[in-house]
């Protein structure tokens, strides 16, 4: 890099005056105007622009958050006797609540299964699609499941899985993979049933993220490695994959959070059954709060879920700010 000699500090007005050869008077005039152009000098204006959004957001997130803490410390009775302090009973109960602990385990089990398959298939898909002749068309088609409302996806798969008239059930049975049992009605297969729907809907997202990453693998590194005698496979594992890691990390974190966020499909597919084998924590929370309307206990569970999400969010923001994340934003040629 060639270093430019340090320039004396000057105002915008002077700079403009110099460039366009203004008279001294004109320059002074511009300088006067330019004083108000300084972004730091007009903080109040920007503050007012920000205010409405921040106010609305505070009303619908911060206020409810404190309300949530309050609720978790009381027995909440909507429309009844009012809220009663109950000596942390909502919290102590969690330690004895088997369904709560199982819910976490099932959530982990479910998320790990989903992400494992989605990343595996998604990366394979992206590598194959990258620079293939029909990339554009195929990617557009593969995107379609992501546009489907999760509840509709759930209902369609519920139909496909049905043990008397579902086509996928028939397919699996005819192929000899499945016996007489219904997919969603059996404890052994129900989890797989909901995982497959998630894979169907969200593998394309992983593939797209990976594809974006593949486009940014530095060519010179690949070529240098090839000159060193690496074949296509070696090249993939030695150069491409390490370059993909930040992208994959983002993809995995986003999927984790979405698995915490959405339970729509599971709600129609199994509703948590059979014998609670698919009752992941958000679903249990939904049942407690909106089936039995035990909002106090629900609030305590919701808080644990929120804390977990915030931890994941912190990691995600770290990744955003990491050098890898920066590089990929700067390279964008907009």
């Amino acid at each position: 890099m060639i270093e430019t000699p340090p320039r004396p500090a000057r105002s915008l007005g002077e700079a403009v005056g110099e460039t366009i050869g203004f008279t001294q008077e004109g320059a002074r005039y511009l300088k006067y105007e330019a004083g108000s152009l300084n972004p730091e000098g007009s903080r109040r204006y920007y503050f007012y622009l920000m205010l409405p959004a921040i106010f609305v957001l505070a009303c619908i997130t911060i206020y409810p958050f404190f309300w949530l803490i309050y609720m978790s410390l009381h027995s909440v009775d909507i429309g009844g006797a009012g809220d009663m302090w109950n000596d942390f009973r909502n919290w102590t109960r969690l330690t004895r609540d088997r369904k709560f602990q199982d819910g976490w385990l099932r959530l982990a089990h479910y998320s790990v299964l989903c992400i494992l398959f989605e990343v595996g298939i998604g990366v394979l898909l992206a590598v194959i699609l990258n620079n293939s002749r029909f990339e554009k068309v195929l990617v557009t088609i593969f995107l379609m499941p992501m546009m489907v409302a999760p509840i509709v996806a759930g209902l369609v798969w519920y139909y496909l899985y049905n043990s008397t008239f579902g086509w996928y059930h028939w397919l699996l049975q005819s192929a000899g993979i499945l016996g007489e049992t219904s997919i969603l009605g059996d404890r052994g297969t129900a989890m797989w049933g909901i995982v497959i729907v998630d894979i169907w809907q969200w593998t394309p997202l992983i593939a797209l993220i990976t594809l974006a990453g593949l486009k940014r693998v530095p060519r010179d590194q690949l070529e240098a490695n090839m000159v060193d005698g690496a074949g296509a496979f070696k090249n993939f594992f030695q150069v491409t994959l390490p370059n993909l890691y930040p992208f994959l990390l983002i993809a995995i974190l986003l999927r984790f959070m979405d698995n915490f966020r959405f339970i729509d499909a599971i709600l129609v597919l199994t509703g948590g059954g059979p014998a609670n084998s698919t009752k992941i924590l958000p679903l249990y929370l939904f049942d407690i709060s909106f089936q039995f309307f035990k909002l106090g206990r629900g609030a305590a569970i919701a808080l644990t879920l929120l804390i977990m999400t915030i931890v994941l969010g912190l990691i995600l923001v770290r990744v955003f700010e990491s050098p890898a994340g920066k590089v990929n934003q700067n390279e964008e040629g907009r």
């Binding site: 730091e40 194959i128 557009t140 999760p150 509840i151 005819s174 993220i209 993809a251």
Partner: protein, 292 residues
Amino acid sequence: MASRDIVQYRSPGRRLLSILTVVFLAAYLVWTILPLFIMFVSSFKDLLAAFQLPEVGDWLSIGVFFDFKPTAKHYVDLFVDNNFGTYLVNSIVAAGGSAVVSVVLGSMAAYALSRIEFRGKKDLFFWIISTRMAPVVAVMVPLYAIFRGVGLVGTLPGLILAYTTFNLPFAIWMLKGFFDNVPYAIEEAAMCDGCTRFQAFRAILPLVAPGVGAFLVLCVLFAWNDFLFASIIGSGGAKTLPPATRELVQPQNIQWGKIMAAGVVTTIPMMFLGLLIRRYLVAGLTMGAVRE
């Protein structure tokens, strides 16, 4: 990959590999489309045809799937008997309303945030993104209690406000990245020409218009596809398409034709919108972390 410029020899192994990739792509294509295709076709089947299935292992009579007389009965029924017209309007108002509120407030805030530095800006951003990521069920517990107190449960404004909990942070976060790419010099120039600050802000809006439009569409998409808020906060007076579709599932009498038709009605507009903003989709779905 770089291998394009390099002379490739057609070894048997390579040929096998290329065949395998084609097979994989074809299989994945079928796997992606088949459920949607079955949904679409089944929505035109009458009650009996929807239940027809060949015997187990009887691969040859797979054609029974196409053996039916197409009928638009379910679509007509939805709108005549099941009030889907109202639900459709509710969906449009709730999704559109929250998208407009989010993008208008969001673009103002995003613009301001991209132009100034202050202490705690990072924390503010973390707050914004974490509200976007918060589990819907967890957010709903206090929101339901509050909304019930002020009579917002079962109303469209309540639903719009509920959707704003995830759309507004999304809009701020995404649009901030957009405004960052607009040089401050443009506003400076506009203000030198005698614009007020607000006029200068308006002057750069055309530059970010494609992004604003795309994120408006994405906000609509997120809100439209939501089920949980709609089924709890919107229950009663503000039923949208997803809960209405779910309600067609009744333990005794599941009308598959109708359900599939409702699925098609819910899905088609969003697919169209998704294709429309295809270029921004990955950025939108990854909170701007990844751009194509």
